[in-house]
């Protein structure tokens, strides 16, 4: 991906606003852009969710298939997460195998789901050591206007929450996948000394540092990822975790609600 250049003018404008705690699109510091989740959009998938987060749009599809378990967890199903930053979504995305940005995205979203034990992998075991369910979570980025971590996090949780396990392939009855926890990521961007949640693309481009915090329904922390060249202070981390817990609670209602 080529280096993204933002004009100095734009950069200065956003920074000046941020110094006053203001955002370029008028949102409050913790205010998310409008979130719209359309579950079950893809009929060919076992579960799916189309997410609009402002002008960012992602489509998550959940597919299930048979496979072998890992040798060190013979009685567990396998979770596989992939993200495609397809060139449709942005002039900066290129076709080809996933680069570091897509890999980080997939791994951070995966971490939130996996560490929260959102899905009980032991229930995805069919025959220990031999045959288990593979659960594929594919994130397709369609329109990129910033904050993919959160949009994908919501899409994956939304997709899992309407997934039907195709047990009829095993001569059983199909049944809804059970969701044990509801992890949600909240991403903050630091611009100068201001910290804003749900950064838009413009904000991301001028941000110094980024922090994604995934919390569960109890407000416990399940995954974190800091990004960009900038830094956070200890107190900023604490503050972001706190704000993430609050924001996560409200978003959770919209998504699994």
């Amino acid at each position: 991906m080529a280096v993204k250049v933002v004009s100095e003018l734009t950069r200065n404008h956003i920074h000046r606003l941020a110094a006053d705690g203001k955002r370029v699109d008028g949102r409050g510091p913790d205010e998310y852009r409008p979130l719209k989740i359309e579950k079950g959009f893809v009929g060919s998938a076992e579960g799916s969710a189309r997410v609009h987060l402002g002008k960012t749009e992602v489509l998550v599809g959940i597919k299930m298939d048979f496979g072998e378990p890992y040798a060190d967890s013979p009685n567990k199903g396998v979770l596989i997460t992939a993200a495609e930053l397809i060139p449709m979504a942005s002039p900066d995305f290129e076709a080809g195998p996933p680069r570091e940005k897509a890999i980080e995205l997939a791994r951070v979203v995966d971490r939130g789901i996996r560490q929260t034990k959102t899905v009980d992998l032991e229930k995805l075991c069919i025959e220990p050591g031999e045959k288990v369910w593979l659960l594929f979570m594919d994130m397709h980025i369609l329109d990129y206007d910033g904050n993919l971590f959160d949009a994908c996090s919501y899409g994956v949780l939304g997709g899992l929450s309407n997934t039907i396990v195709p047990a009829s392939r095993l001569e059983a009855e199909d049944y809804p996948l059970e969701i044990q926890h509801q992890p949600l990521s909240v991403t903050a961007a630091k611009i100068g000394n201001a910290i804003f949640l749900d950064p838009s693309l413009q904000e991301e481009q001028v941000a110094d540092a980024r922090l994604t915090v995934a919390t569960d329904e109890n407000g416990d922390v399940r995954a974190m990822q800091k990004g960009l060249n900038g830094s956070f202070t200890f107190d900023e981390i604490k503050e972001i975790v706190d704000r993430a817990r609050k924001a996560g609670g409200e978003l959770r209602k919209q998504i699994v609600g």
Binding site: V42, S44, G61, I86, P91, P97, F136, D138, L142
Partner: protein, 283 residues
Amino acid sequence: MEPEVRLLDENKRRLDGRAVDELRPIKIEAGVLNRADGSAYLEWGGNKVLAAVYGPREAHPRHRQDPARALVQCRYNMAAFSVSDRKRPGPDRRSVEISKVVSEALGHVVFKEQFPRTSVDVFIEVLQAEAGTRCAGLTAAAVAMADAGIPMRDLVVSCAAGKADGTLLLDLGKEEDNLGEADLPVAIVPRTGEIVLLQMDGHLTPEELETSLKSAIDACHKIYEIQKDALRRRYAVTTEHGGAPPPPKEPETEADTPPTTEEPKPEEVEAPEPVVPETQEGE
């Protein structure tokens, strides 16, 4: 290939109730994405397809640039979850071939000489697939190109005809495609009737081929109306998608023609009301 499932009942009705010469329902919406210069979303039976266009923009890598004209480069891609058995991400050989023939078809209508060294990049994403995705993708891509204001002679529109259960059928559905005897995807430039995409596999007599081809062409003209309607709606509305749509790069001159008529060809016969003959089609 003798299907054990009967694909037609005694009244020549198909599994989904269609007549032999009946298209699946088609719905097109233009201008659905924010970042792309132009876009379109299309549903065609169980197919859900998104098309986006960027350009004309500098072609890269540089050594691929054509000093005399724009490249029209299409990438057809199926989402991993768009089919029953999860598809491995990335282009397979089928996608590469489809990308090639679709690029060639779209390239015919673009005024490429106006934009040397550039590329018009067309991205087709199949989100849900159910037979006929290349026709659906190509039809959506043409609308996205118009939405992007790419100077074009006309739209391109695509439909397949075919044969299943011994009968010629229009616009094959999933089982008809899997169990059928022939598939003939076609794309045309509606104003001139020129054929810009043509593939076929299966088994057809020369007479069957001619009938099927005619049937597909006639269906293309019907779908052309749906394309134009989507573009008309796109430029009639103003704020449906949060913000006024960007004006097309070429001014729209007539209310009932797409914004692509950079070079009107008044001498050409306007697309006649298509009459679908007693034939049938599919992918």
